[in-house]
């Protein structure tokens, strides 16, 4: 479920956080389902359990998971997180539009590309 890329320069804990965020936002991990225990994940990946503890703490801080004492960590309700992610995407579109405008791309060209992109994306689904 979690794969560590040893060529990646980022710390391992960051990779774990990102991977879980991805899985949670995409709905692969369902709300209220349990995360692997720190011990099992550490043994699977052969890494320091404290690293995983740190990753889980970060996920909890960001609101992706909640922990129940003595039982482990679970996926939180993530509606508001998906909303946050959507807002982020819209914000980056605004930034992209500005850059496009600076390069002289017209609104029509931009919209055409957006439509094309949507068609391409839908094909995969």
């Amino acid at each position: 479920m979690i794969i560590i890329d040893y060529k990646d320069r980022r710390p391992i804990y960051e990779q774990i956080v990102e991977r879980f965020q991805d899985l949670i936002l995409k709905g692969v991990l369902e709300v209220d389902s349990q995360l692997p225990s720190v011990r099992n994940l550490a043994m699977d990946l052969s890494i320091n359990p404290n690293t995983i503890q740190r990753a889980y703490a970060e996920l909890e801080r960001k609101g992706y998971i909640y922990s129940v004492k003595g039982r482990g960590s679970f996926i939180s309700n993530n509606d508001h997180l998906i909303q946050c992610k959507k807002d982020e995407i819209f914000q980056s579109i605004t930034k992209l539009m500005k850059e496009a405008h600076d390069l002289g791309i017209t609104k029509e060209e931009f919209m055409n590309k957006v439509n094309e992109g949507f068609k391409e994306g839908m094909k995969d689904d």
């Binding site: 040893y6 011990r39 550490a42 043994m43 052969s46 890494i47 320091n48 404290n50 690293t51």
Partner: protein
Amino acid sequence: MIEAVNVSKQFDKIKAVDQITATIREGNVFGLVGTNGAGKSTFLRMLSGILKPDSGSIKIDGMDVYENIKAKELFFYISDDQYFFSNATPKDLKTYYQIAYSGFDGGRFDNLMKQFELDQHRKINTFSKGMKKQVSIICGICANTKYIFCDETFDGLDPVMRQAVKSIFAKEITERNMTPVIASHNLRELEDICDHVGLLHKGGILFSKDLFDMKLSIHKVQCVFQNEVDINQVFENIELLKTEKRGSLYTITARGTSEEITKRIAMSNPVFSEVLPLTLEEIFISETEVVGYDIKKLIL
């Protein structure tokens, strides 16, 4: 907790360890790295009470370790050059360690020996080097001690074994808060398993830091600026460990958080900039370079 305060050791005229002060906390994985002859093994041997420090004190859970059986029961030391009794078999070792360590888990020992496919009745001196290491590691884990000192222990193991041993360590750390102290040159590996790293150089400790903080506090920067700039002015108040300029591309190693550095660069109209965390290997090289341990000098 293990506390070493101002520990020094001298062999004839050679200062092997010079005024080392370090603290190893429980539940942490402590990595000991250092240049060749930096005193890593000597330090570990003093921690295990084999050598008596010339000055300073070493306390394990508040007890002096030298010639103190009570303190010695708290750890298991896997030395780099391993010694086994002549003609001994792993079974003999088990009997021996059961006397030395009251918490020694004989059943676990039998299980692990089976899992590692090591014959308990074969003489250890007929084992290969890597297999001897495996036997020592299994003894160390089964001794159920709070601390385990490993002197280049992973280095003789094949990749599958390394992975297996690391997994076992991970289990022991979560289940009974075992605290490993690992001396190694394999920085890539230490990076995966350590929380805290102590860097030794010429007998002294250069730094002892949380690996996580360390990675956040030192960065490699690549940037190109629109106009000619004074690099020292761009990075005002940020310590630069190394600056290199090739054409208009600057490659800089700087001490500071990624936000701080990005902010400073953004103020000077960069055409391109990238801030990357350093690997432990790069940190090691740049930190020892500062104190005059330079690869370029070694190659030439």
